[in-house]
Each structure stands twice: as structure tokens, then as C-alpha cells.
């Protein structure tokens, strides 16, 4: 057997999750994040000017990365079917427009979404584990997860127990992620931190490593139900974490900012950041997603502007 991967400081990753104490030592031994510096770096990347061919590339890539989302108490089967149709053909007037990555719904809507999406290749993502608060027993969370997977979900977006994380019970959070991953079976697991509740960038970095060590396929910023949701600096810290994790372990993990990304301009800033922080390997829907609803329409309007030279306006894209 080869030696387990280690990170700077020589920590043996296989041993890290042995106890709360060892997990805490490891997470608190990660290099800190200077908030002012991280904010400045994110702002500087936001000044890149993406035009013409680069913008065309970015628009199509961004559309392919959208997890088209509806997470409302008032969701209906009709709305979910409409959303799923839109995910397959975002711009009905233009067959060259790529589909989105997935449709993201509550577990009870998974079967409906599955039915419409069929074998289109667009995934069904379900939020589970007592989303958005995560306030339920582990048994309920696991049942929630299994229910969504059984209904046909390809991806599960779970929330971590922020109360346990903030009070330092890292092992509990770790074990919960491991258990949910097991309940996912073949479905991919995205781990939501709700960074607006974690508050500090140091916490975001620690949560990122914790979720990656526990086997999450994706790390995700937010539920969209808490403000602030995704921000550029928070995503920067998470991108640095997945980059460093692959360097240490060889395993690649995806990143999904969710909530508050509404315009093409914002989406392109995120893509620039992925490109310059992680590199081209992450510029793919398998490794980067946008959790969004209104973003798609802005991307479509910009795309049609690139093609025709004219803005079409909101009456020419479908309502969600």
C-alpha cells in the first residue's frame, strides 16, 4: 500500500478524522485567510475585460454550468416541468444553445423533474438533509436523502450542521457527510456550507477541507435562503481549497456558488476566477456549477445579443 497523502506540515490525511481533536488540529493548522487580501484579489479578478470570442465561450460555458433551481414552498409540478423543459432547451429559437447542467428541486419534485428530463443528459439535483436549515436528526436526513435518490436524483445537495461546525464539533459534521454520502449511493454529493452563517473566510476554508476529507464531490456556498449567499471572495477561498486538495491528494472536487448570481457580468467574473485560480481543468460543468434561476435568462439575452447584435428583452425569454 502506498503512503497516504500528506499536506504541508506533514499531516497524514488518513489519520486526520480519527478524533475531534485531530480534526481540529488539522483544520486549525491550515494557513489563515487574510480577509482584506482575499477581498482585494477577488475584486482585482473582477476587473478582467471579457469581450468578443472570449465572451461567446464564457456564455455557453456558463449556461452549461447552471443548476436551474426552484426551491419554493409554492412550487408546483407544472412549474417544475416548465423548468425542466427550459433546462433541456434554454433558447427554443436556437438549437445551438446548450442545455443546462441540472435542474435543482426539493425531493418531492424529483420524480416530476425526472419524468420531463428523461435521458436528455440534464441531471436532477435534489436538496436534502432537512434543507435549508439542516435542523433534523441524522436518521431523518438520511431518509430524506434516500427518498430523493430513490425518486431518481443524480445529485444530492446536502447542508452541513452549522451549529455543530461553529461549536467545534467537527467530527460530527464529518461523520454526517460520510453517512449522507453513503446514503447517496451512485448519486453525486454536493456539500452546502451556508457561508453566510459561517461568517469568516477561515471558517470557509476549514469547512471546505472538512467536506473534501469526508468525500464530498462538490462544495457549495449557500442554500440561497440566507444572506449573504455566494460572493466572489468566498468562492475564491473555496477554489483555492479544491486546488490545494488536488495537489495534496490527487482528487479533484467541484465548486458551486449558489444564490445571488443574477447577471452575465457576475457569472463571467466567477469563470475568470476559476480560470486563474484553479485553471482550465475546472472549466467544465463536472467541476463548476452555478446555483441560479434568473441568471439563465440574462445569459440567454446576452447570447442572443452576441448573435444578432440586438437586445431582445425579457419578453423574448421564457418565464421560469
Amino acid at each position: 500500500m502506498t503512503a497516504s497523502p500528506t499536506v504541508a506540515g506533514g499531516a497524514d490525511l488518513a489519520d486526520v478524522a480519527r478524533s475531534d481533536a485531530s480534526l481540529r488540529r488539522f483544520l486549525h493548522g491550515l494557513p489563515g485567510v487574510d480577509q482584506v487580501g482575499a477581498d482585494a484579489r477577488a475584486a482585482a479578478l473582477g476587473t478582467r475585460s471579457i469581450k468578443t470570442t472570449a465572451k461567446e465561450f464564457a456564455l455557453d460555458l456558463a449556461i452549461r454550468m447552471v443548476d436551474l433551481t426552484t426551491l419554493e414552498g409554492a412550487d408546483t409540478a407544472g412549474k417544475v416541468r416548465a423548468l425542466a423543459s427550459k433546462a433541456i432547451r434554454p433558447d427554443p429559437t436556437d438549437p445551438s444553445c446548450p442545455p443546462t447542467a441540472a435542474v435543482c428541486v426539493y425531493p418531492d419534485m424529483v420524480a416530476t423533474a425526472r419524468e420531463t428530463l428523461g435521458d436528455s443528459g440534464v441531471h436532477v439535483a435534489a436538496v436534502a438533509t432537512a434543507f435549508p436549515s439542516g435542523r433534523a436528526s441524522l436518521a431523518i436526513k438520511l431518509a430524506d436523502t434516500r427518498d430523493a435518490v430513490a425518486a431518481g436524483a443524480d445529485e444530492i445537495d446536502m447542508v452541513i450542521d452549522r451549529g455543530a461546525f461553529l461549536s467545534g464539533r467537527y467530527l460530527q459534521v464529518f461523520e454526517e457527510i460520510v453517512a449522507v454520502k453513503e446514503a447517496c449511493g451512485d448519486a453525486h454529493l454536493k456539500v452546502i456550507f451556508e457561508t453566510g452563517e459561517l461568517q469568516t473566510y477561515d471558517n470557509v476554508r476549514r469547512a471546505s477541507w472538512l467536506a473534501m476529507l469526508a468525500g464530498g464531490h462538490f462544495i457549495k456556498t449557500s442554500t440561497g435562503k440566507v444572506q449573504p449567499a455566494a460572493t466572489l471572495p468566498v468562492t475564491l477561498v473555496m477554489l483555492e481549497a479544491v486546488r490545494d486538495f488536488r495537489e495534496a491528494t490527487g482528487q479533484q472536487v467541484g465548486v458551486k456558488p449558489a444564490g445571488g448570481i443574477r447577471t452575465t457580468k457576475d457569472a463571467i467574473k466567477y469563470l475568470v476566477m476559476v480560470n486563474e485560480v484553479c485553471g482550465a481543468d475546472w472549466l467544465d460543468p463536472d467541476w463548476f456549477r452555478f446555483g441560479a434561476s434568473t441568471l439563465l435568462n440574462d445569459l440567454l439575452m446576452q447570447r442572443s445579443k452576441m448573435r444578432t447584435g440586438r437586445y431582445s428583452g425579457p419578453d423574448y425569454v421564457t418565464l421560469d
Binding site: G32, V33, G37, A40, R41, T47, V272, A280
Partner: protein, 485 residues
């Protein structure tokens, strides 16, 4: 023309800032007594260092021209500016600051063309800081009695500025001088006179009384004539240590007041508990900002041995994403070297460095792959590892995008190495430990110590050096002292 990192699937299309906003004249005269006048010397050409294209012919001021400029400044001082109440002077300075903001894009484009710096920096750093400087000192003009340095101006200030931040150095010199009631004769650098001449137009636009600001262009002889002119009461110089020493000699024995802001070889010190990703940004900003043409550049990286490998790997990866090329492209990070002469010096010292550090374990010269344009003056971002204090690249100011990396084990070793230089302009400290920051700031013999950041400039903060980095302070309340008696 901008190069992109190898294997870049997301290639940024060219995004050039338009030159149309700038109207560059075929030739420029001197700005004396509120008017543009012909110079008596042999006019010289200023070029775009990114393309070697000739931009304009610029007049050379002779001794007689300098004398006329000093007389115009004296007249304005005696008749108008000296007697004017501070609150009236402030109005002119506020007006200048606002015009600088209004014409910010024009100034940024012109600065980028004449100097070679990326438009992103000219637009986001140089011009906003210039306007901020005028706003800041405008605020002092009617409050001098509260600053504690007196309220009497010195008279006529002779000011000589360098080519690395042409407009910003102009602001550092002119704003406090005018706020305190002095008049000025300023000589911009030979290779970058254009924004100073545009500033002269701004003075006209602001209805600044004739003779309060005079701009004389030329090379070393013009500068020498200015600083040694007997009608000058105050000499302010920013530039190389050699020229600074010559100026100090030429004014010795006179009653001129002098401030000198000279070279540097700053240590950027990274401890093992530093926020490493942000430290990498600070290192990049410290040495590659403005192509490394920064007197306070963090040209010596001192990194604690236990994180050296990790930090260097991160730094190299980050350097591979730097975009070198057309300064007017909005996505360019590193522009052109300002002149053939400066490029030759950077090349010479880098070649010496390569021979000095050798190719032993962990030692060598490294640059990311980047295609440099075939015309113009270019040098790739470069770092040297395995550097010791004895090497010339650790001792001499290169004034280019060249970083020397040294390691240390303990804080006291870091202090010893950081201070072991004839210079003392700036230093950087990276650590999560507040007490260590304070300890280092006390121990470092440098005028500015940045903690967990680098190359941050603010008009309210004094700036200046220890030892061969010069004397006197510019900026902040301290900056008033140099222009009052």
C-alpha cells in the same frame, strides 16, 4: 499581442482601451508663466516603450529657460500665491483635483502610452491616487496653523521627478508645495514628460494664476540647472541614489531645504503562519506592480524555511497567470520596461544573478513561459532562488520585475537580513500574529512597514526612507513640514 498562459482554453480576446481620448501633439514647449513657450535647447523625442513609436518632440530647457521659469515662479510667489489666503489656494487645488478626476481616462491612457505601465494600474491606482493627493492637501491649505509646522511657505520649490510614476510623483511634489503657499518649477523625467505637460493644460483649465506651476522638460543637465539655481528655496527630488547624492552635494552650503526620496531594496518577510495565498498576492504586487519600477518594491523575498517550498510552488503557479503584453489591453498585468537603457540594466543584473546563484539544489533563475512582443522593451517576470546576502541581486536595486528569494529560520535572522542593506525605504511582514508584526515594525529600519499587504499608498500616510533611501517625508501631515518654515 497579450500573451496567455500555455494551454489556456479560456483565452481572453484583446480588450484594448481606446487611444482616441488622448490628443498627443507633434511637439511640446515648456510651461513657464502660465504659457507654453519654446525651449532654447535641442528638442528630444519621447517614445512609447511598448512599440518604440515616437510620440512627440519635447523642448529641452536650457539654463536660461530654467532661469525664466524660476523668475516666473518667484513673481507668482511674491505677487499672488504667497499672499493668497489658504482657503483661496484650497479652491484652486480642489478644482485641479476635480479636473483630474474628470479627465481621468485621458490621463490614464496617456500615462500608459508614455510610460509603458498597464492601463489597469494607471486607471485603478495612479490616477485615483493623484486626485486623492490633491484633494487631501487642498484640505490642509487653510488649516496649516493646526499642523504644527508653521504657516510660512519657503518660496520657490525646484522639483525633479522620476519616470516610474510620472503623474503620481508630480502630485506628491506639487500638491503639498502649493497647499503651503509655495510656487514650483518641476522637471519631469526625460522619458515620460507627457502627463506633466497635460497637467500644465489642467492648470490653465483651472485658471491657476500664471507662474504658480512651471514645467521645464529636459534631461540631467536641466535638472542640475534647476536644483542649483540660486533662486530656488527648496529642492525636492525622487529618483536614483546616485543622482540624489549629486544633488545633496550641489546644494551643500546653501540654505536650500532638501528632501530626497531615493532607491530601495525592500525585504518582504513571510513567516510560516502567514496567510499564504494572500502573501503570494502581496509578493506579486510587491515586485511585479509597475514592472517592478517601484522604489519601494519588495525585491527581496525573505521566507521562513519551513514554508519556503510550499510558498514558492504557489508563487510560481501565480506568476504563470500573469499576462505580459500590450499596456493598453485592459487585461494586461505587466507592461513594457520604460526604456532601452533600463532594460539593459535589468538584463545585465539578471545575467549576473544567474551566474551568482548557479544551478545547485534549489537555486536558479526562473520565469514562466511567456511570448514577449518583438518590438518595444520587455522583460519577463523573473525570480531567483538560492540567493544569499552576498549576491549583487540581493544588494543592488534592479528596478525591474526581478525577485530574489532568500530564506530564514528565526525572526531575529529575518531582521538581520532585512536590515543588512544600505537602503531603508520599505518592508513587508506577513504573519497572523499581531505581536510579531509590532515587533518586526519596531526592528526594521525602513520608512514604511506594510503588514499583510504591500505597495499600498494613501495621501494621508507619510512616505520616505532611512539611510541611502533618502530623507524627508512626503504625504500626510508630515509632508507639510518640507514646504514650511
Amino acid at each position: 499581442m497579450t500573451t496567455t498562459p500555455a494551454g489556456d482554453v479560456f483565452a481572453y480576446a484583446p480588450a484594448p482601451e481606446s487611444r482616441a481620448i488622448v490628443d498627443i501633439k507633434a511637439s511640446y514647449g515648456l510651461f513657464v508663466g502660465g504659457e507654453f513657450v519654446d525651449g532654447g535647447g535641442t528638442s528630444f523625442k519621447t517614445i512609447n516603450p511598448a512599440t518604440e513609436e515616437v510620440l512627440a518632440e519635447v523642448a529641452e530647457a536650457t539654463d536660461a529657460d530654467v532661469d525664466a521659469a524660476v523668475k516666473a515662479a518667484r513673481k507668482a510667489y511674491d505677487k499672488v500665491w504667497g499672499p493668497m489666503p489658504g482657503r483661496e489656494r484650497a479652491k484652486y487645488l480642489y478644482r485641479i483635483a476635480r479636473i483630474i478626476q474628470e479627465r481621468g481616462r485621458e490621463l490614464a491612457v496617456l500615462e500608459s502610452i508614455d510610460n509603458g505601465k498597464p492601463i489597469r494600474e494607471a486607471r485603478d491606482v495612479d490616477v485615483p491616487t493623484v486626485a486623492a493627493h490633491f484633494f487631501y492637501y487642498a484640505g490642509w491649505a487653510d488649516k496649516l496653523e493646526y499642523a504644527g509646522h508653521g504657516t510660512t511657505p519657503l518660496g520657490v520649490a525646484g522639483q525633479v521627478i522620476p519616470w516610474n510614476f510620472p503623474l503620481l510623483m508630480l502630485a506628491w511634489k506639487i500638491a503639498p508645495a502649493l497647499a503651503c503657499g509655495n510656487t514650483v518649477v518641476l522637471k519631469p523625467a526625460e522619458t515620460t514628460p507627457l502627463t506633466a505637460l497635460l497637467f500644465a493644460e489642467i492648470c490653465q483649465q483651472a485658471d491657476l494664476p500664471a507662474g504658480v506651476v512651471n514645467i521645464v522638460t529636459g534631461a540631467g543637465a536641466t535638472g542640475q540647472a534647476l536644483v542649483s539655481h540660486p533662486g530656488v528655496d527648496k529642492v525636492a527630488f525622487t529618483g536614483s541614489t546616485d543622482v540624489g547624492k549629486a544633488i545633496a552635494r550641489s546644494v551643500a552650503g546653501t540654505d536650500k531645504k532638501v528632501t530626497l526620496e531615493l532607491g530601495g531594496k525592500a525585504a518582504n518577510i513571510v513567516f510560516d503562519d502567514a496567510p499564504l495565498d494572500q502573501a503570494v498576492e502581496g509578493i506579486v504586487n510587491g515586485i511585479f506592480f509597475n514592472q517592478g519600477h517601484v522604489c519601494c518594491a519588495g525585491s527581496r523575498l525573505l521566507v521562513q524555511e519551513s514554508v519556503a517550498d510550499e510558498l514558492l510552488a504557489k508563487l510560481k503557479r501565480r506568476m504563470s497567470t500573469l499576462r505580459v503584453g500590450d499596456p493598453l489591453d485592459k487585461n494586461t498585468d505587466i507592461g513594457a520596461i520604460n526604456s532601452a537603457e533600463q532594460l539593459a540594466r535589468i538584463r545585465e543584473l539578471s545575467d549576473i544573478g544567474e551566474a551568482e546563484v548557479g544551478t545547485g539544489e534549489g537555486a536558479g533563475r526562473w520565469s514562466p513561459a511567456c511570448d514577449l512582443p518583438s518590438t518595444g522593451f520587455w522583460f519577463p517576470p523573473t525570480l531567483f532562488t538560492g540567493v544569499s546576502q552576498a549576491h549583487r541581486i540581493a544588494r543592488e536595486e534592479i528596478f525591474g520585475p526581478v525577485l530574489s528569494v532568500l530564506t530564514f529560520r528565526t525572526p531575529s535572522e529575518a531582521v538581520e537580513k532585512a536590515n543588512n542593506t544600505p537602503y531603508g525605504l520599505s518592508a513587508g511582514v506577513w504573519t497572523d500574529k499581531g505581536s510579531l508584526i509590532l515587533h518586526m515594525a519596531n526592528a526594521l529600519r525602513a520608512g514604511v512597514v506594510w503588514a499583510n499587504t504591500f505597495n499600498k499608498f494613501d495621501p494621508t500616510s507619510p512616505f520616505g526612507g532611512y539611510k541611502e533611501s533618502g530623507y524627508g517625508r512626503e504625504g500626510g501631515k508630515h509632508g507639510l513640514e518640507a514646504y514650511l518654515k
